[in-house]
Symmetry: C2
Subunit: 232 residues, 2 copies
DNA sequence: GGTTGACTCGTACGTCGTACGATGCGATCA
DNA sequence: TGATCGCATCGTACGACGTACGAGTCAACC
């Protein structure tokens, strides 16, 4: 009943990896696998957004029947979880050389985090409702370790981690949700100018249109880091 | 075709507000209205969560047919938008007396914001995908005005607003998503202790269990405010 | 040859959002 | 008084969804 999942198919790919599976290759599609499902789900989410992912469409893209997916994943929720976590993999600092000090490391990690999510805007709107996958936990772990090494006391560690995490999450989600619909944005600003007697200040600052998102992100992050570790 | 919406029903309630509508009252349910629909949607969302809100269930609660709702709202998306915005109404500082200085005002506004959303945890997971309603804009406007009055230069205003907004959003969404499922949380921490060689630091700090959310929120907010207006 | 277990998929059920058109009903006009 | 008209309600129906169920295929082993 629940005796399926990854164990099964990974065994299969070991068995058939080297031996006489030329027949498999000659078919139009490679065999289903959890990895292929997740990768295709990410493609579909990138192309069509959260509402565009359905089991039938996903199966179509994979060249299989809809019900075949359920051998490899438990349900649609799991597809979301896996797609989200797969997108949040952290490959570590590519060029560790250019980074000096713990503060540089933290900034790099958090900016990479933000960039990863903005590359797949659906991830930002998905994350608030999903469980913590291994890749997210790995990122949290690295963040804690770096802060801990930097001398943040254990008592303050959780405050520091959550402050930084919260900040990154908020900035990313806000940015991504505005990215999703430029027209929405313009419409909102237009609604604003129509009601400029109601919202004079944000209308004057063109808050919704002219903001320098990246600049605001790193400035705010700096302030936070100043406060969290005033020593350095 | 599109000639319905609020104008129609508000005219109706004006007409029937005083006159001979005792018959309406004697019926088991008051007449449908946009306000009643939104209020009931909030109830339903509070009780059943985001997935629990369907047009049929909503209509059941209102004692009407499902299709009747569509006279007052355009579609289900609009119900979400209206419910979200209605929950984010800002009633202003209830006791302005106790609040000293712009900084106190800002903290009060942001804490009220957070509290409003945590009172309805679904709002946090909904917001990333929705448009900016009038109540959200009003909050942004008040925030800008306060900061502006506090002497933040126009050039820095957007940075300040977005830094604060992002921080509050992130903290609230994170907190709310953990609140939604304590069991998920415990399961995650359990998964962690099982893999404590993978995630030693966050396992040791009991990050997912023991965090002082409220304390972390206000400490991080203080740091941010320190940085944004170092003058005061 | 028979059995087993991994894997695929067609069919079917219940639920969803909502298009469409019929209906009821108070107000207005003839 | 009856005819007409706008607002408001709702029954029916359609297509799409997630997925339960069980029958099917095929390679590997006894």
């Amino acid at each position: 009943m629940a005796a399926k999942r990854s164990g099964a198919q990974s065994k299969r790919s070991q068995r058939t990896g080297v031996s006489p599976q030329a027949a498999q290759e000659s078919r139009s599609e490679p065999p289903l696998s959890r990895e292929r499902i997740v990768a295709t789900a990410v493609e579909l989410l990138d192309a069509e957004g959260v509402d565009g992912l359905t089991m039938r469409r996903l199966a179509d893209r994979l060249g299989s029947g809809a019900m075949s997916l359920y051998w490899h994943v438990g349900n649609k929720e799991e597809v979301f979880d896996l797609a989200l976590d797969s997108v949040l993999e952290y490959r570590g600092p590519q060029q560790m050389a250019g980074i000096q000090g713990w503060r540089g490391e933290v900034v790099h990690m958090l900016e990479d985090w933000r960039a990863s999510m903005l590359r797949h805007p659906w991830s930002a709107s998905l994350l608030p409702r999903r469980a913590l996958g291994p890749n997210i936990l790995r990122r949290l772990e690295m963040l804690s370790k770096t802060l801990s090494r930097a001398g943040v006391a254990d008592a303050d560690l959780n405050v520091a981690i959550w402050s930084l995490w919260n900040y990154v999450m908020g900035a990313t989600i806000t940015r991504a949700s505005f990215d999703l619909s430029d027209d929405e944005m313009v419409a909102a600003q237009h609604r604003l100018t129509g009601l400029s007697e109601c919202y004079p200040t944000i209308e004057r600052s063109r808050l919704l249109l002219d903001s320098d998102w990246d600049g605001a992100f790193s400035k705010g992050l700096d302030f936070l880091l100043d406060g969290l570790a005033p020593g350095q």
